[in-house]
């Protein structure tokens, strides 16, 4: 029978506990995936991207699925707020489903945003493009919705795949909206 000697481990001195917080590095780039086409879901991505650019942070936007509506020429000026299936909406779903309610709610939201000097979606997109943000349409979603490059607003830089998007997002914080 082979025998083995097990050595007692020597007590190592524990490293001193430091309570100092690690130094945080500033964010250098953000990549935002816009996947929803309602008015209330379009603005967060656009405003965040704009705030990033205003702070000198690089911003890349990837419009996919319903988010393509935000940069589709025929839809950009007609995005709506959902009055049905939106638990935060302060009106009952049954009433929200009545004809004209969605248009009314959307108008009200646009009016309130106007008061805060938040521009319409089309102007937000123009601002972002002027600010040097990069805007991309998702190729697969475009194929699914039978959309062509010419259906999108001219500020969109290119139509790319999700893999291209991640390549372009090297080192960036990725947000999904």
């Amino acid at each position: 029978m082979p025998t083995a000697t097990i050595e007692q481990p020597t007590t190592a001195t524990a490293p001193p506990v430091t309570l100092e917080k690690p130094e945080r590095k500033p964010i250098e780039a953000v990549s935002i995936i816009c996947s929803k086409g309602t008015l209330d879901m379009a603005y967060p991505g656009l405003i965040l991207a704009n705030a990033a650019r205003m702070s000198g942070i690089d911003a890349t936007l990837f419009f996919t699925f319903w988010g393509l509506d935000i940069v589709t020429e025929k839809k950009i000026d007609h995005l709506h707020t959902a009055t049905v299936g939106n638990p935060s909406m302060p009106i009952p779903t049954m009433i929200g489903g009545l004809p004209g309610m969605e248009t009314l709610a959307s108008l009200m939201m646009k009016k309130e945003m106007g008061k805060l000097e938040i521009p319409p979606v089309r102007e937000m997109i123009e601002m972002l493009s002027d600010a040097g943000a990069e805007l991309y349409g998702c190729r697969m979603a475009m194929d699914m919705f039978k959309l062509d490059r010419s259906d999108l607003v001219p500020q969109v830089d290119d139509v790319i795949s999700a893999m291209d998007f991640f390549d372009k997002s090297a080192g960036a914080q990725v947000l999904f909206i």
Binding site: I47, M54, S55, G56, I57, L116, I118, M127, D130
Partner: protein
């Protein structure tokens, strides 16, 4: 309140380096802040933006947001980003001796 010395002038600043008393601002202070913030030498266009920001802040009581500057100063959005590539939203106010704007637009 921390103090900073720009071009021989002692001014009060907050933790982010924005002047807390906008009347302590002078053109010399602006040049020194620009140098420190990596904006470099101030051009006529920079001065146009600074003059607008200071005038507008005095009239409105708050520093102008970037969209407001681009709409009313005569310097458009693209130019603003060329003048302040490290973030015009903050730097235009900083170099003008104003607080950091609170808006996101």
């Amino acid at each position: 309140m921390p103090a900073a010395t720009y071009a021989g002038h002692e001014v009060e600043v907050n933790e982010e380096g924005f002047l807390t008393q906008s009347d302590q601002w002078t053109e010399e202070v602006a040049k020194a802040i620009a140098e420190e913030s990596g904006i470099g030498p101030l051009t006529d266009k920079h001065w146009e933006v600074i003059a607008f920001c200071r005038k507008d802040a005095e009239a409105q009581g708050t520093p102008p947001g970037l969209r407001r500057i681009s709409k009313l100063s005569g310097v458009n959005m693209k130019e603003l980003y060329q003048l302040f590539p490290k973030g015009p939203g903050k730097l235009a106010a900083k170099v003008s001796g104003l607080p950091k704007p609170q808006g996101c637009i």
